[in-house]
């Protein structure tokens, strides 16, 4: 396993474009903390984002994992191109001739995906912990370490999304087209939802939508904005009430894990079937 990871590390780290994207990704993750610096002080209007409670434990776990997940596109580009480049440079063929089995090849890519997701999760945990310790109103360990399921959801979400990218890279073999396909797929999911909502019976659209790959990943961590107490109080004033379920459900995790398994299996069987 270590050998496979080393192989992938050499491949990624010597590539200037991948290196740049990976570094930018982690820099951007760190920059989440800069949100804390957003501060307006114009005469009577005082606005300090950090004091709105977005860095309160345990809400911060929800907020930061949601925001951090937006940057996953950077790694998506890295993953799609690391796969597609193996085809365009024909190095996949050379790797197999040199004695890597097709199983090992997919396994090494999957390990990379899991490592990316894992490092991101640890990273976001540390950043959030530090931010929270600085700005949070509550600092009891029992509160700090509650709601950690958002981190698990974040990890699963990244693994699922990157596995999808991996599969697209193998399927399409060209990085630009694979990324195009990703956007195209997002639109397909949206249109399907729209059509079902319009034509099918009540509730069918939501039920089907929940199982679609990209939406099931998005569903893992729901938008945290309306959960903020400040937002809530504003909503209450204008007579609106949110009754939304923000928690992470085990069946949502299962759906994403199912897709992950399917994507990896399909990548493997595609590779096995193809002549190079």
């Amino acid at each position: 396993m270590l050998r496979l990871l080393q192989i992938e590390f050499i491949k990624l780290w010597t590539n200037r474009a991948s290196k740049f994207l990976i570094i930018s990704y982690f820099v951007l993750l760190t920059l989440i903390s800069l949100i804390a610096a957003i501060k307006f002080d114009i005469g009577p209007i005082k606005f300090h984002l950090a004091e709105l409670g977005i860095f309160n434990f345990p809400y911060i776990w929800h907020f930061n994992t949601f925001v951090a997940a937006i940057f996953k596109l950077f790694l998506a580009v890295v993953i799609v191109s690391m796969m597609a480049n193996e085809y365009s440079n024909k190095t996949l063929k050379q790797n197999l001739i040199d004695g890597l089995s097709k199983k090992e090849f997919i396994y090494s890519k999957f390990l990379t995906v899991v490592s990316f997701a894992f490092i991101s999760t640890v990273f976001i945990f540390v950043v959030s912990l530090i931010l929270g310790l600085i700005y949070s109103d509550f600092n009891e360990p029992s509160i700090i370490f509650s709601d950690l399921e958002y981190l698990i959801a974040f990890f699963i979400k990244l693994v699922g999304f990157f596995s999808f990218c991996l599969f697209l890279g193998i399927l399409v073999k060209r990085s630009a087209f694979a990324l195009g396909f990703l956007i195209f797929w997002q639109i397909v999911e949206g249109i399907t939802f729209g059509l079902l909502k319009w034509k099918a019976a009540d509730g069918v659209a939501e039920a089907v939508f929940r199982f679609m790959p990209l939406n099931s990943m998005a569903n893992l961590i729901k938008e945290p904005g309306s959960r903020l107490s400040a937002v809530k109080s504003v909503a209450n004033q204008i007579g609106e009430e949110f009754n939304k379920d923000y928690s992470v459900h085990w069946y949502e995790i299962m759906i994403v894990l199912g897709w992950t398994a399917l994507f990896i299996y399909m990548s493997y069987s595609l590779l096995k079937k193809r002549d190079l």
Binding site: I10, T14, N89, K90, I97, D98, S101, L276
Partner: protein
């Protein structure tokens, strides 16, 4: 003798096209094999199958008597297929270190092999800056990293300039002299003739011959002859059952033998019959002539 590779009834179909048809042969340790055939005769497909990159339609192959799985076996093989494939953004040295990782050997031979192919002073250059000849030599270095039991080369001189071709051939001879088994696929006959002891000949995916180069055709050679009265000579030769075929081209008469006969005896025989030869050469068919005879015979 130790068997390195056994191929049994291997068949590969691409849709309606049969690229390799019912092919069988074995590779023994210590010999230099050539796979000969025109373009599109199934050479690369056959190599692709045994190298785990092309799926077979039917048949079997086994490495090292089938004791280990294909990808484990490939770690003991060095192979170059058609175009050298490396990561363009890595240096020569880094690329070779990566190959070492894949093959699971230590990377202390990287410099030695770069030295062997004459690329040691370019080891820190990126692969994409290399010329085709240099890329091909880097590929050979990479194939030798594990000191392989067998070196497989597919058209190693394709697209190179004369100097590059010469360098690669010298390298192959050097490797063969060190006792490494080599399997060389080529459509260039002189290339195979110069280095190979055994040959497998393919045409349209069908094996025409496999065995030693010098036993390819049961042939006793031929004479190239000239004299003042060519017509008399031809009629003399045609009446003689020793010769199976007589052809004349630009005043040069070629007579193919049915049974052994040496030049001295033949000369004496002609002289006794009143024919004085001005030109007499006894030759064996070159691989090219043998190859053409073989492919012609099959198409009839």
């Amino acid at each position: 003798m130790e068997t390195i590779l056994t191929i049994e009834n291997l068949t590969k179909k691409f849709g309606y096209l049969t690229a390799v048809k019912d092919l069988s042969f074995t590779i023994e340790k210590g010999n230099v094999y050539g796979i000969l055939g025109p373009n599109g005769s199934g050479k690369s497909t056959t190599l692709g199958i045994v190298l785990n990159v092309v799926n077979r339609t039917a048949g079997n192959f086994s490495w090292f008597d089938g004791q280990i799985s294909t990808h484990e076996a490939l770690k003991k093989v060095g192979a170059i297929i058609e175009r050298p494939n490396f990561y363009p953004y890595m240096t020569a040295e880094k690329n070779l270190q990566l190959v070492c990782k894949i093959k699971g050997v230590s990377s202390d031979k990287v410099n030695e092999k770069l030295e062997l192919v004459g690329l040691i002073d370019r080891k820190d250059s990126k692969f994409r800056t290399f010329s085709l000849g240099m890329k091909q030599r880097l590929a050979i270095a990479s194939a030798l990293l594990n000191d392989p039991e067998i070196l497989i080369l597919d058209e190693p001189t394709n697209g190179l300039d004369p100097q590059g071709i010469h360098q690669i051939r010298e390298l192959i001879k050097k490797i063969a002299a060190a006792g490494t088994t080599i399997l060389l696929a080529s459509h260039l006959l002189d290339e195979v003739e110069k280095v190979c002891s055994h040959v497998v000949i393919l045409r349209k995916g069908v094996k025409l011959y496999s065995g030693r180069v010098d036993e390819m055709i049961a042939s006793h050679g031929f004479f190239e002859l000239k004299c003042e009265d060519n017509e008399k000579l031809v009629s003399q030769l045609e009446s003689n059952p020793i010769f199976r075929k007589i052809s004349s081209d630009n005043g040069l008469i070629t007579a193919f033998l049915n049974e052994p006969l040496d030049a001295k005896e033949f000369n004496k025989m002609m002289f006794d019959q009143g024919i004085v030869l001005s030109h007499l050469v006894k030759r064996k068919e070159s691989l090219e002539e043998q190859f053409l005879t073989l492919t012609e015979n099959q198409s009839n």
